[in-house]
Point group: C2
Chain length 385, copies 2
């Protein structure tokens, strides 16, 4: 990675969610952590929250650096996996912090993927009515998505992320070095969100990804840094415009209503990125069907997704039953009991409803038809019906 790949993006988040904060990317920035965090956060005790896997890979290095700099730092680790993103884990972490004497002068550092970021962010937001949080995402998905925007949350039996708050971190640190240990399926989870950023905001970014597909998949440092930068810029722009998610931030849900339904119907066996990839295709087809999305958009999206190794067709059984449809109903985006979708007008440009809304209510029949279309091989002619 060349030196000019180090960058800083300021997220101009609204005051009601915690105000502006910087995202810093630099290769090896984990090693200079103490100096960087102390500039942004005045705290006397630091709680590093991580799962056991990430703690083993990067935790000791980080703790050593903090302690060498004279910062009182302890590790709070728990087993890996989405199954840990619960009220129970949050309660255990809270009680452990209290037991070890953490007070209002402490700060939480989350080191990990989306689960750790969401859970650790919620911990920081609710501990003694809120202590500062520094997010250090270690997956591509968390770097370009979960760590930016202040969404924190935990899962409950009724669904994912149904409990939480929106509260910005004080600082986000991205060290692309940590991606070296990221499994391929996790890396592609991140790429699905990058494609989404292109789809909702920047068609040329989508084209760039297709061009750079080999470098991206080979995790070439320049290509990866370029991708992280552009994706964070797009997400940060939407967060700034609308931190409370009343308006344009809803666009970030493109593909996600169907994706969440796919994850639910599969018993959370389908990885998030694959579900988002399939979800975007189905939602683009929904848009084409109801005349909101320009014809050919779904196919263009398919090409981009396939270029970076992501699936574009649903396993047959998802499109053939009403299960998927039923699963969309338990999504948070149900408003006044109708399911609304964030759709695009064409690649790189969002759609708006007739009354200017950022989401569009869709009839069940259209959802089902798009899912069925998406679950078989589609010829160009059929798509344009």
């Amino acid at each position: 990675m060349s030196a000019e790949n180090a960058f800083r993006i300021d997220v101009d988040a609204s005051p009601e969610t915690g105000g502006p904060y910087p995202v810093l990317l630099r290769q090896g920035i984990l090693g200079s952590l103490p100096a960087v965090v102390q500039q942004s956060v005045a705290a006397h005790r630091w709680a590093v929250v991580a799962d056991h896997t990430v703690a083993r890979l990067h935790g000791e290095r980080l703790l050593d650096a903090m302690r060498e700099a004279g910062l009182e730092t302890q590790l709070f680790a728990f087993p890996p996996g989405e199954a840990q993103k619960t009220r129970a884990t949050w309660a255990v972490l809270t009680d452990e912090l209290l037991e070890r004497g953490y007070g209002r002068d402490s700060a939480v550092v989350t080191l990990g993927g989306g689960v750790v970021g969401d859970l650790g962010g919620f911990l920081a937001a609710t501990f003694l009515r809120g202590v500062p949080c520094v997010q250090i995402p270690t997956t591509l998905l968390a770097m370009i998505d979960a760590a930016i925007g202040g969404k924190t949350g935990i899962d409950v039996p009724a669904g994912k992320n149904l409990v939480g708050v929106i509260r910005q971190p004080r600082l986000v640190l991205v060290d692309p070095d940590v991606l070296a240990t990221l499994p391929d399926v996790e890396f592609r989870n991140g790429l699905a969100e990058a494609v989404k950023h292109g789809a909702i905001a920047d068609a040329s970014y989508l084209d760039w990804m297709v061009e750079q597909r080999q470098a991206i998949l080979a995790r070439d440092a320049d290509a990866v840094a370029g991708l992280i930068r552009r994706s964070i810029e797009i997400k940060a722009g939407m967060v700034a415009a609308d931190a409370a998610e009343a308006g344009p931030r809803a666009l970030l849900n493109f593909g996600h209503t169907i994706a969440h339904a796919i994850e639910r119907v599969s018993g959370f066996v389908v990885p998030h990125g694959q579900a988002v990839a399939m979800g975007m295709v189905v939602e683009a087809r929904i848009g084409e069907m109801i005349g909101v999305t320009r014809g050919g958009t779904a196919d263009r999206l398919c090409a981009a997704l396939e270029a970076v190794g992501l699936p574009t067709t649903l396993p047959g059984r998802y499109g053939e039953t009403g299960d998927l449809l039923e699963a969309t109903r338990s999504d948070k985006k149900v408003r006044a009991s109708r399911v609304r979708y964030a759709l695009i007008a064409e690649s790189g440009r969002p759609a708006r409803s007739a009354d200017g809304d950022w989401t569009i209510a869709v009839a069940d029949a259209d959802v089902l038809r798009a899912a069925k279309l998406g679950s078989t091989t589609i010829s160009r002619d059929e798509t344009d019906i």
Copy 2:
């Protein structure tokens, strides 16, 4: 109560905690609830949170009014008492709301005292990353203290209110009619906070309470409305100045470090108001001892507290052992492992530390000496030592 006792106070809370909102007081305002809440909150479903006692006393009336106005409203009730202010009750309420199909278009109405306000406020703040909250306090304490300022929270094994967020309600409605059913001990809990408001911000308010003591204790409508109004004004002023509690809001903790310790040492048998009354006297004596508080202030405070029927001396055993001191250490206000107190310079005027801080670090020996003094009958001469 005369018509001019109906009033509106705007709490100019900072954006990062949720922004400004009105407090409305009017006799019988519960009956006109639907019109009032609809003006401030756009929601399709309303969840009224209350304990069984308050639900029985006022819940049905409120629900009937909401339903007659065509608002979809349901009651979510739980057993009364501080023992319910837990993560478990919060989890049950969250899951019940989800089960009954509450989505982002819903709002939470808390109907009750501090426990319900704190717990219901935390529920609203964390449900689907936050839905609007309307606070309807039914105790004097909640009307003038807990419902104003956006503090929400629950208790954990390590202590009270150690988990929560600061998030302002959209609206606070005070109907003094509901005080008719309030037990005397609860009414006096509220009076202790009113005395505190006088002690930290307005000596003439303290004098007024002494003058009006008979009318206040007889719950004369004019006297009670006057007291609620002045106390809310004082609290609202401090919330506006400092919603995140970094500065002057700390003054609201006057008397509370010792009060929390008394409650803890007593196994939470001493009612909060009595603990606060005793705590203020001890903390005033601490201030006099270390030269921060003008001599005679503690005695003046005693006179005001006694006028409204509140205790001013600690049961002997509290002052004689180190238990009380130990209990102050687990308070949230411990910063960098030193116990800091919000003290007053004299009646109606706060004290500042040498470096301008709103709290002052106190040596254990001084705390212990003041507690010992406060636990025996003190003559004027001894106090002035």
